[in-house]
Amino acid sequence: MRNKLVTAILTVLMLLLLVPSKVLADTGDSGLPFYVSDVAEILSDGQRQDLESTAEKISSQYGCGVYIVTLDDYREYDSKSDMFSFAQDFYRSYQLGIGDSKSGILLLLSMADRDYSLVTYGSKAHYAFTDYGQRVIASEFLDDFRENEWYEGFSDYLSCCGDLLDRADRGEPLDVVYNEPSRMNSGLSLAVIIGVPLLISFFACEMMKRQMKPVSRQTGADEYIVPGGINLSLKRDVFLNRSVTRTLIRHEDRGSSGGSMGGTTVNSAGFSGHSGKF
């Protein structure tokens, strides 16, 4: 525990040294004066400023910090923790988050082994970013990151965070159980409400109709088989060849991310999220 604390303090100090001074800005009551920190330098200045401006706007609008941090290798700061633990330590050490509950969401990229971690903290963030919502966010940026399209991935991340915070603001956080139907647009809902019952009633009526026309030719003669009249004289099964295919099982979700039961899974430290590779 003591080692972790020391490591966290060292990390904070090193990051403060590493963070370019031009990105320092007022970030409300957060302990870190930025929303976007590109230590790995994968973004151009213009892109970083654009993202910073968007993140700041979303954060201040919904009262929930939305953060992006890129590092060359998180193990340079903490060689013993895994990516998810490191992201939690980072969030705590920099006192990220807005408001009394320190609500926020952090996307942290470590470029050396193409690791990422997505962590959320605080009541507002937990309400808006359910386990399902976090998977939706991850699916938005992962396809871009796999193509090394960093700006597009971060833009999608911010856009998705904005959407989810907006839904939560309206009292309709995106969740797997309760919110899927509400994602349907009204046209589709109407089509389902009319189309499905019509289809079911059509099949039911066709079955009734078939009952009215039972006359048909017989196709088999099973009733006239002589008892003991079935004689199987040859039964041969010859093995020809074998083919083997191997498929890699992806491990995108790790850490404390929950299943598909809905809601948000929060660990004992008050964090929710997961880590993986891109």
């Binding site: 009633s201 006359v215 088989i225």
Partner: protein, 372 residues
């Protein structure tokens, strides 16, 4: 000259006899006496022989007359010619003397003037004589009540149809059937796969084994029926199966009074084609069912032959009912032995759409609540 027709008459009071399916006896409705078919057959044995001989003589005489270029002088040649040209035959009712005009396949009928049931024994002479007869077990009343029962539970049947339509005709008919014994021999090749998946570390390993499978065997059938009457719809006759052939009796015309009967006009060779298709289809399915334990099976080569081993000719009991409604005829058939009743009914469009609405509306309401 009209061919000979025989009435089975009560030996006690000489009134016409009628075969009663429920008791299996020939009944006299006049004096109430009952007689076994065997006793009546024995009683009429001599008369039957005479009738059959008369039928043979008549055919021979007609052939000779045709060869000599002249016809029987007792009858107008035009009249006889016209009737035969139309595929009809003329018989004389032994009870009232009226002339009965029937088609050439009729073997038993009833006189439209006096109502007496008549049998035409000459129709069963030589190769036309059936091997077996399956006597009627169910009566006309059973057929009528079966029709009423048949209407019940048909949700798309217009109430007007069951209320307004009236039975136009109801006939108990001995329908000529060919019964085929045979053996289907099959030799089928298949390509089969067996797929297994297992997780090894971070990999899902899928193993597919390919097999060449071959099955050969035979399936023996007994008495696959196929009707030998052009007048009877094949699908209707197929639909009233099965018959219980353990109750088959050696043919006797003593079972026929009170019913209609036809002789075959579709030969055994033509009818066997239907039995062959049914036999090979069943054999294929049975052989297919022996290929088990695979993830997928598809046949690559099939050789299925059906060999005919024995053919019997039998008269089977069928009640035919016909009704007329809205200008259309509806024909129903009932197995005269088992009571299996079948026939197509008209679908009421109004009821069809009413049911569609009745099912769809509450479902739509439920979905609307769930998706709200």
């Amino acid at each position: 000259m009209p061919s000979q027709v025989t009435n089975y008459q009560c030996p006690d009071c000489m009134a016409p006899l009628r075969y009663d399916g429920a008791s299996g006896m020939l009944k006299c409705d006049y004096c109430g006496k009952e007689h076994t078919p065997e006793s009546i057959e024995q009683y009429y044995h001599h008369q039957l022989q005479e009738a059959e001989q008369a039928a043979v003589d008549a055919v021979a005489a007609e052939a000779a007359a045709a060869a000599a270029g002249h016809h029987d002088a007792d009858y107008s040649s035009d009249e006889v010619w016209d009737a035969e040209q139309e595929g009809m035959k003329i018989y004389q009712c032994p009870s009232c003397g009226a002339q009965l005009i029937c088609d050439t396949t009729t073997a038993a009928t009833s006189c439209p003037y006096c109502g007496n049931p008549s049998v035409i024994p000459g129709q069963f002479h030589g190769i036309l004589r059936p091997d077996y007869i399956l006597p009627f077990r169910l009566s006309k009343d059973d057929a009528v009540s079966a029709l009423k029962q048949y209407y019940k539970g048909k949700l798309l049947l217009s109430r007007k149809f069951s209320d307004e339509n009236h039975l136009q005709e109801i006939k108990g008919i001995y329908v000529p059937f060919w019964l085929f014994d045979g053996r289907a021999v099959a030799d089928i090749h298949y390509r089969a796969t067996r797929v297994m998946s297992a997780r090894h570390g971070d990999e899902m390993v899928t193993t597919t084994d390919y097999f060449d499978v071959r099955r050969a065997g035979s399936v023996s059938f007994t008495r696959i029926p196929a009707d030998g009457s052009q007048k009877m719809p094949d699908d209707l006759m197929d639909s009233i199966e099965p018959f219980d052939f353990t109750e088959l009796k050696p043919f006797s015309s003593a079972y026929m009074p009170g019913f209609f009967a036809d002789i075959y006009d579709v030969g055994d060779r033509e009818s066997f084609e239907r039995a062959r298709k049914r036999g090979t289809h069943s054999a294929e399915q049975i052989i297919d069912s022996t290929v088990t334990g695979y993830s997928s099976v598809s046949p690559t080569r099939k050789q299925v032959q059906m060999y005919r081993e024995k053919t019997s000719y039998a008269l089977l009991p069928v009640w035919m009912l016909s009704t007329r409604w809205n200008g259309n005829n509806y024909i129903f058939a009932m197995n005269g032995q088992t009571g299996k009743f079948i026939g197509d009914l008209p679908v009421s469009k109004g009821r069809y759409f009413a049911w569609m609405g009745a099912i769809a509306a509450p479902l739509a309401a439920l979905l609307a609540i769930l998706l709200r």
